[in-house]
């Protein structure tokens, strides 16, 4: 009926239990195979509905779909970036030494890595409801910034996402319960600095990878 692109769940670049003890196997399994999959299923459905409305010239219907598309597309994009910027703690990629250019920029901006991490965690803990914490680079000024986004809002187009941390309760609750501060500390043991460096030194297209490829194919 249509040529609308179908998004599919990306494979995790590691096993479900590979981020233990910082993120449990049960959390990773549910988070990837259920939550992320649901965003993709809903996104595909809403894009199909939008395509039908577009072909019918129904502008009102298309407008009514925007919020749902923003939410589910954001869920797909944010989770895809998140899986990629994590790695097993035993992997060499989780050493900040893998990100010499970025760490130098972080030191210039915040003084040292641990001060930056504290800033980031303060931002995470200040979220009022579901959302994400991000290290981003402003595309105009080149400056590094720590920002948060609500629910499944993506990083604004004027900024390049480098590192994202999911702070929805489903990201940690089965393991950390209400102790979200402990999750925010643990997550740093499984950050893939190699990928974050690649995003910092590369173009926006490199950051979004296959997500950009699918966009170009529409």
């Amino acid at each position: 009926m249509s040529s609308v692109a179908k998004y599919t769940l990306p494979a995790l670049p590691y096993a479900y239990d590979a981020l233990e003890p910082h993120i449990s196997k049960e959390i990773m399994t549910l988070h990837h195979s259920k939550h992320h999959q649901t965003y993709i299923t809903n996104l595909n459905n809403f894009l199909q509905t939008q395509s039908t409305a577009s072909l019918a010239g129904d502008l009102i219907k298309q407008l009514s779909l925007q919020q749902a598309i923003n939410f589910h597309a954001g869920g797909h994009i944010n989770h895809t970036l998140f899986w990629e910027n994590l790695a097993p703690a035993s992997s060499s990629s989780t050493s900040p030494d893998c990100a010499p250019k970025l760490v130098a920029a972080i030191n210039t901006r915040w003084g040292d890595l641990s001060t930056f991490q504290q800033k980031f965690n303060t931002a995470l803990l200040s979220l009022k409801g579901s959302g994400w914490g991000w290290l981003v680079q402003d595309l105009e000024s080149g400056a590094l910034e720590v920002i948060t986004s609500r629910d499944q809002d993506v990083v604004p187009a004027t900024k390049k996402p480098l590192l994202g941390v999911d702070f929805w309760e489903h990201a940690y609750y089965l393991q950390y319960l209400n102790d979200k501060a402990a999750y925010a500390v643990g997550i740093w043991k499984v950050v893939n600095w190699k990928i974050v460096e690649k995003r910092f030194t590369g173009s926006t297209d490199i950051v979004f990878g296959s997500l950009v490829g699918l966009k170009a194919g529409l």
Binding site: K128, G129, S130, D151, Q152, W168, E169, Y173, L174, N178
Partner: protein, 230 residues
């Protein structure tokens, strides 16, 4: 809502009796804050809402989550009082999001606990009287109302609540959702609230939130909901 907050002094005594967290207790001892918020006692045991809501969820939700809203609201209120005393308008305005979030969290949870009841103690069933009539007039039937309410719950994008409210201008009832801890204040009176934050159901239902939304109806305290309509 006002009834909940007016019972503060009784609740305060029971909280102190049962050993309130140190910080809250010492703050209460050293600072004069009129109407300091305290965690209300649950009107039933933690396990009393099983199998709809597990005892572990209820315990964490009440003892940890609700308590944190209470503590953070009191802290923000103190800062607000200090800013007010100094005439620091900018600081007062900057504190509003924290007051709204933590104050809303306290109000919403207090209303939620009260509009739930164990099924062996009056929970579940159907509303009666004026509320029953209003629901049937607006939604056709109680089942149709539940369907609409569950659709509203499922449509929340992120953390939030669904409420059956009364419009204070028209007197009509309606279903509304609120993001995060935004409280039902102003134009609307809260009648029935259901918490759709993940912490309200995740340990038991994980991503199957529709099952939680289905099971909550077995523990709704319609007597309380009806009394709020008056």
């Amino acid at each position: 809502m006002s009834a909940t907050l007016l019972r503060t002094s009784t609740a305060a005594r029971s909280v102190l009796r049962s050993g309130a967290p140190k910080r809250a207790a010492s703050a209460a001892a050293t600072t004069f804050v009129r109407g300091k918020a305290t965690l209300p006692d649950l009107p039933y045991d933690y396990g009393a809402l099983e199998p709809s809501i597990s005892g572990k969820i209820m315990e964490l939700h009440h003892k940890n989550h609700h308590q944190t809203y209470v503590n953070s609201f009191n802290a923000a209120s103190e800062q607000l009082a200090e800013a007010g005393a100094k005439g620091d308008v900018a600081a007062s305005v900057a504190l509003q999001p924290l007051i709204n979030f933590h104050g809303g969290g306290h109000i919403n949870h207090s209303l939620f606990w009260e509009n739930l009841a164990p099924s062996k103690n009056g929970g579940g069933g159907e509303p009666s009287g004026a509320l029953k009539s209003a629901i049937e007039t607006n939604y056709g039937s109680f089942d149709a109302f539940k369907g609409k309410f569950n659709t509203a719950l499922a449509g929340i994008q992120g953390s939030g609540w669904a409420w059956l409210v009364k419009d204070n201008e028209t007197g009509q009832i309606g279903i509304r959702t609120y993001a995060n801890q935004d409280p039902v204040v102003g134009k609307f009176t809260p009648l029935l609230g259901v918490d759709a934050w993940e912490h309200a159901y995740y340990l038991q239902y994980q991503n199957r939130k529709a099952e939680y939304f289905g099971a909550i109806w077995d523990v709704i305290n319609w007597k309380t909901v009806e009394s709020r309509l008056k």
